[in-house]
Structures are given as structure tokens and as C-alpha cells.
Symmetry: C2
Subunit: 376 residues, 2 copies
């Protein structure tokens, strides 16, 4: 419920679970297990076979569209199935077949648009091949990531895993039990586990090159969450890109990953000795843009700002944001391709690193006159 209570609802309390035991006294003629809907016993292949006067094997054949069944019999079976409202048990089927036609996706954070898109792409691609998708969120917790991965894998035929937190040694130890496995945004050097990732370094490098071409030499990095690997990647890439240029310096400002984080940093940004700010992501950049605007700092006239991710809104900020776009949908689709190949005994293939694409819009411009030299 909304804490303010302004979203009213007539919901009952979640409780009221009966656990165990027969609700009513009657032992019933059900063999051993209590069924979920005790009233109607749920049709089984056996009952259908009985009703149609054929063997279970024949029912199975009909249900699976085997062509070797006499039309007359097939019709009888279908009628019986229809009458009994028969639905083959997919669980039993999975057990007999040794496969579930399900794959799993583990992500650290379902709120992250990147993973939402991976989810979409994967779900869609898997669906195309008659497979379903199981999803689980690890909430950025390393222990949880490993446990979830193992469990999810046991329920399915393959796993797409985005697990930035699991230590490499542990992941390596697990990788055999998790196969067929596709890794997202990290790899396992020397193993045969395929990995799909976004080359954040290349994206940062492109941004820095762009900024340098505009004359910027003093950069400010608005850092993401300290625990985030992508923040570490981006920072390292920024450091490397700067280091390769003699007169290029960069300072870092702890910030965060949200609009509000960026907004709150605006004052510090203005007071810093930098001509361009490289934000951890678009949200932060957007927040900074907004805060800077309120302080009367003009972008890009007074200072340039870049984002990262190319979220849909990046086109619509004022000014529109220069950023690096990453192929989010593609990741999910390709993850499926890899997994499916693996599931069919195919090779792992080469790992791929998707290169972000620099999108120059209006939040970056030349260094303001008189600021090309150190200020203090």
C-alpha cells in the first residue's frame, strides 16, 4: 500500500493459509497425495486412455501428433480428451523427456532498463523456439546470485546469467553445473562459456575522444555507485583514456546512479575545475543538466555534459544529451542464439563485445573561451 494511504484499496490481509493435512475429514479415494483442486481429480493420460478405450501409449501418440495412429482412434482419443478437459502434465512430460523447454535468466536488478531489455529479447527469442523463460533477480547480492543460478538451472535446460558479483573462482567452479550457460557482461577466460558483453571502455574512450576533439582537457567524472562493476569499468576506462594524453586530467566526484544524485552534484560540478563532465549514466547526466540549469550554468556554452546508455529520454533533455548507446535488445536475442546452440551440442563460438555507439547531440560543445588553461 502506498505509505500515504492515498492509494486506497480494499485488500484483505495476505494471511489465511491452511497448511498441510486434509481440509475436511474425508480421507477420500485419491491415492496418496492431496491434489490442489480436490473437487475435480484432474484428468490424466490414463483416464483419457480408459475413456477412449485405448492404451496410454496411443493417447500419448495422439497428443503429440504422431502420424501413425488410425484416424478413427485419434478422433476417439481427442473426443475423450476434450470431454475430460485433459491437459497433459508438463512436469511429467519433462521428467520423461529429460528436458523442460524452459530456460532461465538471472539478473542483478530488474529495475535496470538494460536487463529489462535483455529479458524482453530473450523471452521473445525463446518463445519463438517454443521455450519459456524463468526469471530471477539477485538484488545485487553475490551469495544470492550463485544460489539462484544453481536452482534456476535445475528447473530449466539452460541459463543466461548476469552475475557481476560472484567471485570468478566460484563462478568457474560452478560453470560446469550451470552449463549450458551464457554469461552477460563478464567472461570466464580460458573456459568455454560464451560471453556477451558491452564494451564500456570503448564507449568511454569514444566519449573522451569526442570531448578532446572539442578541446576539453579537464574532465570531471560523476561516479556511479561504488559497488557497481560497471562504474569501476567506466572509471578505469576514463583513467586510461586520459592517461594516454599528456595534458588531460580528470577528477572524480562520488555521485550515484539517479537523477537526484546528478542533480545534487550540480553545485560541486560548477565549482570544480573542469570544462566537461562525464556522467556515469544518462540519468545522472540528466540530473546534472537540470541542476546546472537552475544554477544558471549554460550547457554546453559554459560546460559540456555527456551521459551513457542512451535511454529513450536522452533525446528529450534540454539540451539533448550526447551519450553512448548500447544495443540492449540485441543482447537478449543473441544470448538466446548462443544458448540454443549450446543446448543442441553446438560450439560456444567467439565471445562478443558490443561496441557502444557515440551519439553526439547538443550537450557538448567547444571549450569556453579563456578556459582552456588551468583556472587556479
Amino acid at each position: 500500500m502506498s505509505p500515504t494511504g492515498e492509494h486506497r484499496s480494499a485488500a484483505p490481509s495476505p494471511a489465511d493459509h491452511r497448511t498441510g493435512a486434509e481440509p475436511d475429514g474425508q480421507p477420500g479415494r485419491r491415492t496418496r497425495r492431496a491434489r490442489s483442486r480436490p473437487d475435480r481429480p484432474a484428468a490424466t493420460i490414463g483416464r483419457v486412455a480408459e475413456a477412449a478405450g485405448v492404451s496410454r501409449a496411443t493417447v500419448s501418440r495422439v497428443m503429440n501428433g504422431s502420424p501413425t495412429v488410425a484416424p478413427e482412434l485419434a478422433a476417439r482419443v481427442r473426443a475423450a480428451a476434450e470431454a475430460l478437459n485433459y491437459e497433459p502434465s508438463l512436469v511429467a512430460r519433462s521428467l520423461a523427456l529429460g528436458r523442460t523447454s524452459t530456460v532461465s535468466l538471472i539478473v542483478p536488478d530488474l529495475a535496470n532498463p538494460m536487463f529489462q531489455d535483455v529479458l524482453r529479447g530473450l523471452s521473445h527469442a525463446a518463445g519463438t523456439h517454443g521455450h519459456r523463460l524463468l526469471v530471477a533477480e539477485s538484488n545485487e547480492n553475490a551469495a544470492e546470485e550463485a544460489i539462484l543460478a544453481v536452482e534456476a538451472r535445475r528447473r530449466s535446460d539452460g541459463l543466461v546469467l548476469a552475475a557481476p558479483r560472484v567471485p570468478e573462482a566460484e563462478l568457474r567452479a560452478l560453470s560446469e553445473r550451470l552449463a549450458p550457460l551464457v554469461l552477460l557482461n563478464r567472461d570466464l577466460p580460458g573456459s568455454s562459456v560464451p560471453s556477451l558483453s558491452v564494451d564500456y571502455s570503448a564507449g568511454i574512450a569514444a566519449i573522451v575522444a569526442h570531448l578532446r576533439s572539442l578541446g576539453h582537457r579537464r574532465l570531471l567524472y560523476l561516479a556511479g555507485p561504488a559497488a557497481s562493476t560497471s562504474n569501476r569499468d567506466r572509471r578505469a576506462a576514463l583513467r586510461a583514456a586520459c592517461a594516454s594524453e599528456p595534458a588531460c586530467t580528470f577528477v572524480e566526484l562520488a555521485c550515484g546512479a539517479t537523477f537526484d544524485d546528478g542533480h545534487a552534484a550540480a553545485r560541486a560540478v560548477r565549482d570544480a575545475d573542469a570544462t566537461a563532465v562525464v556522467a556515469f549514466n544518462d540519468m545522472v547526466a540528466f540530473g546534472a543538466l537540470s541542476g546546472l540549469h537552475e544554477l544558471g550554468v549554460a550547457v554546453p556554452q559554459d560546460i559540456s555534459v555527456t551521459g551513457f546508455d542512451d535511454i529513450p529520454f536522452a533525446r528529450y533533455t534540454t539540451p539533448p544529451l550526447t551519450t553512448a548507446s548500447i544495443p540492449r535488445n540485441e543482447l537478449g536475442r543473441q544470448a538466446w542464439d548462443r544458448l540454443w546452440t549450446l543446448m543442441n551440442g553446438g560450439p560456444a563460438g567467439h565471445n562478443v563485445a558490443f561496441q557502444p555507439r557515440l551519439l553526439v547531440r547538443e550537450s557538448t560543445g567547444p571549450v569556453p573561451a579563456g578556459r582552456s588553461a588551468q583556472r587556479s
Copy 2:
């Protein structure tokens, strides 16, 4: 791959699947079925029992933490399990237990932030109770919705279904096979299927009341996709809200659901005889805001604009958007509560309609002077 080819990658073609048959000639000693990883036979409860010199029942007891096992035996079993890298088969377990510890969610569109939040809430709540989540997307296709629902339900113990397209009669016919079932954003009058929904009408009514209190009498509705039920709901609510007031008129302009749709409508909005525009959703409102700005029309001085949904960005448009917020996370959590109650034989409870909350920000204001009367 990106059509432009600018996101390069070294991906192999998705093909190369071997199908059926033993890859190599050897029939092997594996009983009947080809295992997915022919190399290591995958430990079963039987093998562990054998290795530990106990019965399968004992292994089962140990794996499930039954306290009635001698510590010495338990240790031996655990050691054997460890040594064999044993993982109990969840499929077999599900079959024996008659439950999967999995629930399913079917949504029309995974790109819709509303459903993304439902997904998150549901996944999290289910996880708390040791359940996993299966998701499927119907792509707004009625036939698909029904089929997916049945199939997903068969793989799991319960279903949360957002199926705006399935005809009521069909849904009613299906509802028994789908139980335990929780419906999102629609209900099944007279049935015992719980339903959780957002009261769009109330949201629209609140928006209209707000606009009227500012003196607006001539409203323009920027309509969503014609096929969308929520568009129909909102339009109907708008009509009703207007009809209840003598001097209130509203006209409708076909638009869409995206920023670009709203942006493209700006000229028509300016030329229409209306003092306030009620947009289908925030994205459209945002697009309109942007387009109006480019045309030199001031919001809210010249015209007021409202959105719907309170997407995160609504706070950050210029001007910040007056809109109606809906409790998206809450929906997923409550859906779980309902489903869990049902799964435990509990009652369906009362349906709930979440009331949107009006958020008055800066995109609405009083009717411009001299425009309170009909223009032409």
C-alpha cells in the same frame, strides 16, 4: 545486430544445431534416453544412495533436512552427494510432490513500465516464499494470450494474468483450468477470480475535476492507440466526466502512446479550440509539451496539459507535468498475496481497484484571460 552495423560484434550465425539421434555411433550403456551432457551421467538419488550405502529414502530425507536421520548416516550421505556433485532433480521432485514452486505471469507487453513493475513486485514477493517466476509476453494478441495462459499455468502452480484482449466468454470458460488465478486490470463479474486493477476512470475524473476548478471547459483528449483498452477506458471516463457538467465539452484527437505521437500533435493542439489538453499518458503529454514549446505556445499560460501514469520523468519535464500516479509496484506484490492465499485454499477476497492519485505540478494553470468563452 543493429541495422546500421555500427554496433559491431563477432557473433557466429545462430545455426549449427544437431537434431535427434546420437551424435556418435556408440549406443552407450545409458538406459534409454540421450542425456543433455552425455559425458558425465548426472548423479541421481539412486547413485548417491548406493555410494553412501543407504536407501534412497534416506538420501531424500537428508536432502530435505529431515531431523530423523542418524547424524553419522547423514554425514555419509552428504559426503557422497558432495563427491558426486549431486543436485536433486526439481522436475522429478515436482512430479512427486504435485507442485512446482513456480508461478507464472502473462503480460501483453514487457516494454510497458507498468508491467515491468508488476513483474518486479511479483518476482520479489514470490521469491520471498521460495517460489520462482515464469514470464511470458503475449504481444497484445488475444489468441496468444489464451494459449500462453493455459500453457504457463500447466508449468506452474498459479497464474497472474494480464490479458486485456481475451473475450470475456473465453476467459470465463478458461478460468477454471487456470485457477489459482489472479486477474490484472480486468475482472470476471460473478466469478470467484480475484482481480486487481487500476481505476483509470477515477484518475481521469480527478484530472477533469482539477481542470474544471481552474476554469477549463473546453478539453482536448489526445487519444492513445485505438486498440488499447486503457485508451477506451480513459476516453469513456473523460466523456462521462464532461457529460456531468453542462458547459463542458471535449474533442478527441487521434494520437498514440509515444513522445513522437504527442510531439506530432502539437500543431493540431494549438489550432484546436481547447484550453486544456488531457493526454493519453505521460509520454504523449511530454511530446506535446515539447512540440508546443517549439511552436511558442506557453504551458500553462496559453494552454494546460495533463499526463497519466506518473512515469519517473514526469517530474522533470519543463514544466513538470501534472498527472495521475498509479501504484505500480504495489500491484505485483498484492497479486502475489492473492495468488498465495488461493494456492493455500484461501478465499478470493474482495476485488480491489487502485485509485490513481492526482499530482498537481506546473503544467496546469488557470484558463488564459479572454479564452473562457468559445473562440470562433
